[in-house]
């Protein structure tokens, strides 16, 4: 093996692709979730949507709020998961981009732009910013990228404190809540969130199950070698950053409506860690994981509402436990259970069938 071979052979293992080793554990998430009887799935989705639309008419405002929050987090996690799970890049500026959405919308609404218009506006702005933040992806690998993006993200939040005349600084700002005629503000917000969530899930699912998702996974798993397939690795990495930023900011705009009052400290590490929990509890690289992860996080938030430190401990411990015991997240647990009961011999992962990228190829590369 000549030196140059080794450079190429080892590139994906040191690159972002293999860094997300736990993501591999989610193998099959895409095909399991994606194929199958499409009609039945469509019906299930429509029924679920109808039920969700009915909620504000039957449930109390607390439940509506909790559901809204779950959906907002789920939207944001779809974006984060796209970046971490599907493109294999550890960009940690997600909380800041979420903040850009929240502030961008709140500030522009204050200047008379209708809320619904601010959603895509904030999204596009954040997407551009995310591409700039993601640019180090060209040169940085693995956790260096993580540190650079974390630093930039924190700097953005600091900037929000700085820009006191516009944002109200550390003290925060009030958000004008948009309302549909003749219903309450919180119900209006809920409906917007529901529509956006449905759109987000529908579109990302389509994109990820098609050529875009395939190429993204190739870039994640093959790293620079993807170039030899005629795919620009750089372009896809940046697009992943941009898209995740767009989705983060869209979720952020909704979050500001939901909270009605925002301040920079909301978007620090104490938001980033739950965001990571949502991705990993849901299962990085899965399709429906974000919903599961978000629901889980909201439950923790609600359970440990007034307990301050306990809530932080819970997050820290949950993150650690999930990473240590369930690298594929909760959805992988569901899959394992389902496969073990209904799966055919073909679907089941028997140790006898070779699994590349585990001991075999890894051992080859080590030496």
């Amino acid at each position: 093996m000549s030196d140059s071979t080794e450079v190429l052979a080892s590139a994906p293992t040191t690159g972002p692709a293999a860094v997300a080793a736990g993501i591999r554990a989610n193998a099959g998430a895409a095909d399991d979730g994606g194929r199958g009887p499409g009609l039945r799935k469509g019906i299930v989705a429509i029924v679920a949507l109808v039920v969700l639309f009915a909620v504000p008419f039957v449930a109390n405002s607390y439940l509506v709020f909790v559901l809204s929050l779950t959906l907002v987090y789920a939207i944001s996690t779809v974006g984060f998961n796209l970046l971490i799970g599907w493109s294999g890049q550890i960009g940690l500026a997600h909380a800041a981009l979420f903040a850009i959405g929240a502030y961008g919308s709140a500030v522009t609404v204050e200047h008379g732009i209708p809320f619904l218009v601010t959603i895509p506006l904030a999204g596009v702005a954040a997407a551009l910013l995310a591409v700039i933040i993601g640019f180090p992806a060209v040169r940085l690998k693995g956790f260096f990228l993580a540190i650079a993006t974390l630093a930039l993200g924190m700097a953005i939040v600091e900037l929000l404190v700085f820009a006191r005349p516009i944002t109200g600084g550390g003290a925060g700002m009030n958000v004008d809540v948009w309302t549909l005629p003749s219903i309450t503000g919180s119900a209006s917000t809920y409906f917007v969130i529901l529509v956006v969530a449905a759109l987000t899930f529908f579109l990302t699912r389509r994109a990820l199950l098609g050529r875009f998702g395939r190429t993204l996974q190739a870039v994640r798993d093959l790293g620079p070698l993807t170039g030899s397939l005629g795919v620009s690795v750089l372009r896809y990495r940046l697009v992943a950053f941009g898209l995740s930023g767009f989705i983060a900011a869209v979720a952020g705009t909704l979050y500001s409506q939901l909270q009605t009052f925002i301040f920079p400290a909301m978007f620090h590490m104490n938001l980033l860690v739950p965001m990571l929990v949502m991705v990993f509890v849901g299962g990085a690289g899965s399709l429906w994981g974000p919903l599961v992860g978000a629901a889980f996080a909201v439950v923790i938030i609600e359970f440990f509402q007034d307990l301050g430190d306990q809530q932080a401990i819970a997050y820290g411990v949950v993150l650690m436990v999930v990473i240590a015991l369930l690298p594929g997240g909760l959805t992988s647990l569901f899959r394992t259970v389902r496969d073990s009961r209904f799966g055919t011999a073909l679907q089941r992962r028997k140790p006898a069938t070779p699994v590349p990228g585990t001991q075999g190829t890894a051992a080859k590369e080590d030496a």
């Binding site: 093996m1 070779p354 699994v355 590349p356 001991q359 075999g360 190829t361 051992a363 080859k364 030496a367």
Partner: protein, 234 residues
Amino acid sequence: MLLEIEDARTGYGGLEVLHGVSLTVDEGEIVTVLGPNGTGKTSLMRLLSGVLPLWSGRITFDGKDLGKAPPNKRAGLGLCQLPEGRGIFQTLTVGENLDLGLAARRASGSAAKADRDRVLGLFPELAGRLDQSASSLSGGQQQMLALGRALMSQPRLLLIDELSFGLAPRVVRDLFDVARELREQGVTLLIVEQQAAALRVSDRTYILRGGRNELTRNSDELLASDELVSSYLR
């Protein structure tokens, strides 16, 4: 018998690469395993050093079953490997690289010093470069350093993977001379090679083909016959 491999099978993932290889090495012998690339030589080395798991068969070293002992344990037993591609640490100095050979056996100060002197006696070229960065050495010198480091651990059996890798013929000859000298000093060697020049220094030769034993001969017999070229370049 120092090393005995009986019908060993191993591979990567689900793919079997060695389909039952057997060989023995006696104390004080130099044994060569010859074969073109892709015949399982390197897998054999990885199996012996514990990087690849033994699927079936048996490996005994000095009467002890090696079983699942991890690489650093095996080094501690005196089964020392000179890795493929030399494995010199470029960020360390020449002296530090040499002393890494002591990691397997925790030698004390004076014994370590004696070992170092003995090794530098074999490779005088290295003696003047102890404080240089290892990356400044030529290919041949790096191979000497790798050999020297292996000797620091006082191996009972030294496994050498491709001594000739990427080296000019003259350098290869010098290194094989060193191998002969080592035998005089009581080190047993198992050399895995693609270049048949190794036969000149070894007692016995195994030729592998397709992950199986193809033929076993005394080295000089093999050199004298035309079996070598016929079994090798076909």
